[in-house]
Amino acid sequence: MEAKTKTLVERMIKDDKEAFNKLYKAYSAKLFRMAYFITGNRSDSEDIVQEAFMKCFLHRKKLRQPERFESWLYQIMVRTAWRFNGRKNKKNELSFDEILEDENNIRMAEAIQKEDTSGPLEQILEKENAIELRTMVNSLKQKHRTVILLFYYNDLSIKEIAHVTGTFEGTVKYRLHTARTLLRKQLEADYISKSEKEGVCHE
């Protein structure tokens, strides 16, 4: 964290609303993007940003280490988004949890990092555009979307994701594995479907 940001956080903790405004301006767009990725809804994401910053200011005194402001803010936003989504209908979500919710899959999650695969998937990735990716991401459960977001967008470590989401590291690992497996399945299925339409032969 930059010294300037740390100073702003310290000032906010001491009730400086101007410092809070500056932090809001610095982080609100990023928080909105993250919320949008988790919820897939603009209006909800704006509400989540508002609620998250409200909590940020109301609970500022509880932030003991100003240098941990970012992960603290992510934590507030993620949990606000989860609670927000919890109130909504979950009928569009897939229920693949039970498939991979065991130790084997945590090990698979670790092993998958080393796996060297090539094939249609990479071709798909090159072809897929952001809209298709969004559709696929939307079909994931919010906890899987969240882990994907924190891992790939925020570059957080497994340990940091566990802290932000309030879960164990093993849980984060299997959720990451689950999310990537589901994305992969859908990307491949989509590719096969497209290829069949285009008359491409798969061996």
Binding site: L133, Y153, R184
Partner: protein
């Protein structure tokens, strides 16, 4: 998955996330709404504290105050805060409270239901006679607990010169727990705007001691106060809430405080 797959997925996700924009107008509007809500909340919190004072004073009247009231000395109560700002850490509250009550207090940071300490206050309670002369004063410590700043449960501790009189107040439940007498009761409260008059029916209920009336609310509000009382080491404890918690829940929380859980 290969590094290639990882890096491409990362690139796609970053590009996807970055494509979502918070419009400038919306960004400004959200900040404005945040400040409006913070201001409203601040007013509400001040109002809540005023209401809380009404309840606390009423609680004092229902308990130890009964003795003094019966003797004809005390006609009313007033409450003054020791300081303008809330005490925000449990350590600071414990220290300040121990000094004021001249006791080694341990105030819980969390209650058994997970409610966390949010803020505290130390007030001076004054018992006044009919001519508004101060007849008795004693400090009372308040610790507010809740979730996300709602301060929905309050623990008050005082070293009152008055003792809880046995048999002078009716309780919904009473039991001895760990050698301590725990008394619990529910009370009906009516809060009215400053200039509003209670109805005749409410006045009758108030006269019968079945309704406590307070003023200062922006609109008429009816609340049920659930309270638990006990004395330990010469200190009076009151745990009370307006929330949906049952009286049994409150007794359980009180037992947790007694046990130091």
């Amino acid at each position: 998955m290969s590094e290639n797959w990882n890096s491409k997925l990362k690139k796609l996700i970053q590009s996807e996330v970055e494509s979502m924009n918070l419009e400038g107008d919306a960004q400004k509007q959200i900040l404005e709404d945040i400040h409006n809500q913070l201001n409203e909340r601040s007013k509400f919190m001040k109002f809540s504290k005023r209401k809380m004072m009404v309840i606390i004073v009423a609680s004092a009247m229902m308990l130890g105050g009964v003795t003094a009231m019966a003797s004809g000395k005390i006609a009313g109560w007033a409450s003054h805060s020791d300081r303008n700002e809330d005490i925000l850490t449990i350590g600071e509250l414990e220290k300040a409270a121990s000094d004021r009550l001249e006791a080694n207090l341990v105030i819980p940071e969390n209650l058994m239901d997970g409610s966390a300490f949010e803020n505290g206050q130390i007030n001076e309670i004054q018992g006044l006679d009919e001519k508004q002369n101060v007849m008795v004063t004693y400090p009372e410590v308040y610790a507010m607990y809740g979730e996300e700043g709602d301060g929905s449960i309050t623990l008050s501790i005082s070293k009152s010169t008055m003792q809880i009189p046995e048999g002078t107040a009716s309780y919904d439940s009473e039991e001895v727990y760990g050698g301590i007498n725990l008394q619990a009761k529910t009370d009906q409260y009516l809060f009215l705007p400053l200039n509003a008059e209670p109805s005749e029916a409410d006045k009758s209920l108030a006269a019968e001691g079945k309704l406590f009336i307070g003023t200062g609310s922006s609109e008429e509000e009816r609340k049920v106060l659930k309270s638990v009382f006990w004395i330990k080491d010469g200190l009076e404890y009151k745990l009370f809430t307006y929330s949906n918690k049952s009286l049994e829940d409150m007794v359980t929380l009180a037992k947790g405080i007694i046990d130091g859980k």
